[in-house]
Amino acid sequence: MTHSFAHPLKRYLAFILDGLIGFLIFSLAILAICASRTPNELLTNILNSLIWLIFYWPIVFVLFNVFLTHRFGGTLGQLLTGIRIVDKNEKYLFFKMALFRTYIGATVSGAFLGLGYLWVFWDKERQGWHDKVSNSFVITKSKMGWVVGVLTLGTLIVFIIFLALAFIGNLQTIGTWV
């Protein structure tokens, strides 16, 4: 490998960024609920949001990440932190392998208390079980990854706080209906 293996903490930063990006969409659904003008509209918006958030959004989000991994070498969080998922020849994964790594690899790593994910801390090639079963490696492509990652994290947190404040404001309106 010509590049160094990504530090586990950088991988976890990327994971947190992906989680916050996913949460942003969730927050937008909450805001839509809070923008309801009548109780009927409120219940309908809650139902629609639940349907999308529980059944469709997780699948769409995961498949989108699989596509990004295959095409660009990582999820949004991983791209922002400058890390890439590659095979032993430092090429991006085929779509089927990226899909396998995401779904089946996650099952393997998460099957026993998430031990497969923690394995990256003491594996000499910084591989988790999901990396080993898909013969993939996570490498550092950009030295600015930490800076960009932390800045993005800060920006996302601030944005979510603003969303939470807007949510609380709308909640007071709903409270007057009860």
Partner: protein, 315 residues
């Protein structure tokens, strides 16, 4: 057949090749879920600007909900139904693929381990990929055959009972005798199908058979070595049961004292958070410790079947 040598070799392979326990973990995890009248103002009509108070005004609240349900567009219910179906199909597909991959990798990995090769997740996962499609197709074929046998037996049973329905004594005799014979026939057929499954998986992974050829060859192997296969199955079950029970007793015994200490406040009517968390933690340790042992037992059993398969196939 030297079952003692098989068990000893399997024990050595299971203890020496811990990476294969990961496949055991996956296999263990995936194998084993008023309208009330339009009355006073609060609950009627969609022009409401307040929600009915619940539970003080339950009848108006349920009236409100039922009126709201009628206003939800049909597309929303269709999306809900499709969403539930999608999640079910996806869960079943992922489980099927993960299970087939884990079985293929474990069988191939144990074969390599038996040949004294170095075994890791990376160099055994390929066996699972290579045989994934054939294993899934075989499982579908075997399941369809199983269902077909069950449906056929029940259909014959029912039709003959219907034919004999004019003569009550004949019908009673048929229901009783055919019921008992049918039950034992079904059990034997299911055992044979299970044996076919065991040999066919190894034929697909280790000898690269196609699903249908593997089924036919596995049937021949099962019939020709029924007693040895049955005994191996009994030994596997006995070892699995004994180890499982022993582990539960030992771990339960070790965890009993701290669990009792955590539970002491409950006897005096207190429910401190620390005790609740402690008991939940003890329960999780118990469950996961048993889970690890089950993973080891899976690897051990698969190794036993691998070695029996090799002896029978080579002979």
């Amino acid at each position: 057949m030297d079952f003692g040598a098989i068990l000893k070799r399997s024990k050595d392979l299971t203890i020496k090749n811990k990476w294969l326990w990961v496949y055991g973990i996956v296999i263990s995890a995936l194998s084993g879920s008023s309208f009330s009248s339009f009355g006073n103002g609060g609950g009627s009509g969609s022009k409401n600007t307040t929600l009915p108070k619940f539970p003080q005004d339950i009848s108006n609240f349920t009236n409100f909900i039922s009126q709201w349900v009628a206003t939800v567009p049909v597309q929303t219910w269709i999306m809900l139904g499709l969403g539930i179906l999608l999640v079910i199909v996806l869960s079943i597909t992922v489980s099927m693929v993960a299970l087939a991959w884990a079985k293929g990798s474990l069988i191939g990995g144990l074969n390599d381990a038996d040949l004294e090769k170095n075994v890791t997740l990376g160099n055994t996962t390929g066996y699972g990929f290579k045989s994934l499609k054939n294993l899934i197709v075989f499982n579908l074929i075997n399941s369809l055959i199983c269902m077909g046998i069950i449906i056929t037996l029940f259909t014959i049973y029912g039709l003959v009972a219907l034919v004999f329905s004019f003569a009550q004594i004949l019908m009673i005799l048929w229901v009783a005798i055919a019921g008992i014979l049918g039950f034992f026939t079904l059990v034997i057929l299911m055992i044979i199908l299970a044996m076919v499954g065991i040999y066919a998986e190894r034929l697909i992974v280790l000898k690269e058979f196609t699903p249908i050829k593997a089924w036919k060859k596995a049937l021949a192997m099962s019939k020709g070595n029924f007693l040895n296969t049955f005994l191996m199955g009994m030994i596997n079950s006995a070892v699995g049961c004994s180890l499982g029970c022993l582990t539960s007793l030992i771990i339960g015994g070790i965890l009993a004292i701290p669990a009792i200490i955590f539970a002491i406040p409950f006897f005096s009517g207190d429910f401190p958070l620390v005790s609740i968390i402690g008991l939940i933690f003890m329960a999780m340790v118990f469950v996961y410790a048993n889970f690890i042992v089950r993973a080891g037992i899976v690897v051990f059993n698969y190794s036993n079947w691998n070695q029996l398969f090799k002896k029978i196939y080579d002979s």
